[in-house]
């Protein structure tokens, strides 16, 4: 059972890692954020799988912390960059 769960954790990580190509390719800033968001969720799933596979209950708390903070990057992005302005900054590729 433990091997299966660890394998599943590895698979989930591999999948969300492939999504990270979007961080490099963009094209918009939203796309880059989406990849980070997906990695956050995948990371939570992988942590839970590892926690059960290795019978390490405290690892669940790490997943809990990540779940609480999962939206923070998106919030900071929206608050920091006033994307509401019509010729929004997300149109131009950042430097």
């Amino acid at each position: 059972m433990a091997s299966f769960l660890l394998g599943a954790a590895g698979f989930v990580l591999l999948m969300v890692a492939l999504g990270l190509v979007r961080i490099l390719r963009g094209p918009g800033e939203g796309d880059r954020l989406m990849a980070a968001q997906l990695l956050g969720t995948g990371g939570i799933a992988a942590l839970l799988l590892v926690a059960v596979a290795t019978r390490a209950a405290p690892v669940v708390d790490v997943a809990l912390a990540l779940a609480l903070l999962a939206a923070f990057a998106s919030v900071a992005f929206v608050v920091g960059a006033p994307g509401a302005a019509p010729p929004g900054p997300s149109a131009a590729d950042d430097r």
Partner: protein, 316 residues
Amino acid sequence: MTPPLALDAGLAVLVLAVAASTIAARGTFASVIGFVTYGLLLALAWVRLSAVDVALTEAAIGGGVTGVLLLTASARLRRAEKSPAPAEHPGLVLRVTAAILSTLVAAGLAAVVLMPASPVPTLAPAAMANLPATGLGNPVAAVLLAYRAWDTLLEKVVLLLALLGVWSLAPDLLWGGRPGPRHLVRQESPLTLLAQFLPPVGIVVSIYLVWNGATAPGGAFPGGTILAAMWILVMQAGLADAPAVGSRTLRIVLVAGAALFLAVGLAGFVVADAFLAYPAGYAKPLIVAIEIPLTLSIAATLGLLVAGPPARAPEA
């Protein structure tokens, strides 16, 4: 390869790839997002290294407050940068030299990793042997708050010094004012919903982490960081304004952790035998008593570090 080792190898390759993309990404925004995911993956690596306490701290700091700090800064930089960023391609000679130097350093470290000392140096038996005297069940907490309490005390001072450094960047006129812009409450925004719903949960989780930290992974650092993240969220949603840095209440909260720590440490001269020594039998209640203001101070300091220097003149 066994499944655990395959998982570790995959994670190691992934972290290196994310680090490389953070370094070499075109554009600061991509670089910053890369760094946020890097922090998240490091938390996973710490779990695999059986360092759950570190993983919690890395998840809370790397996944939460650092992302907010860097994303806010990169947005401000983009607005303020007048001249285009300098060419991203410095001379070939410099790049090749830097690559050779970095490879040499990495190879040297790798050689050290591949040739471990034997016998392996460890303080784990000593830490465990003295654990009953502290009344704690988590050896990492015992190191942080009893064996090497000096480090933790000085770290708190470093945090305050960094905050003073950030504040001192404010023009004279704005000294004592409130940091950052006043965020407006956006009606019917999901952000407002999140900022109303999440903080109560976050406060409960951080209390749980601090309380649990005595016996299991947790403690003042992750607890304080999550508390700070919740405060930042409320400020960013505009539900509460940042406090004026001249406020006396704020100053008291900021120094409370270090001050109480220091007071207990000095009392150690009288009631125990040395600075920062706890009298036998009272170690655990004293440590818990220190941890509560310490958590609040850490939360306030981290929150204000993210908020930045004062940007609005103090109200007369």
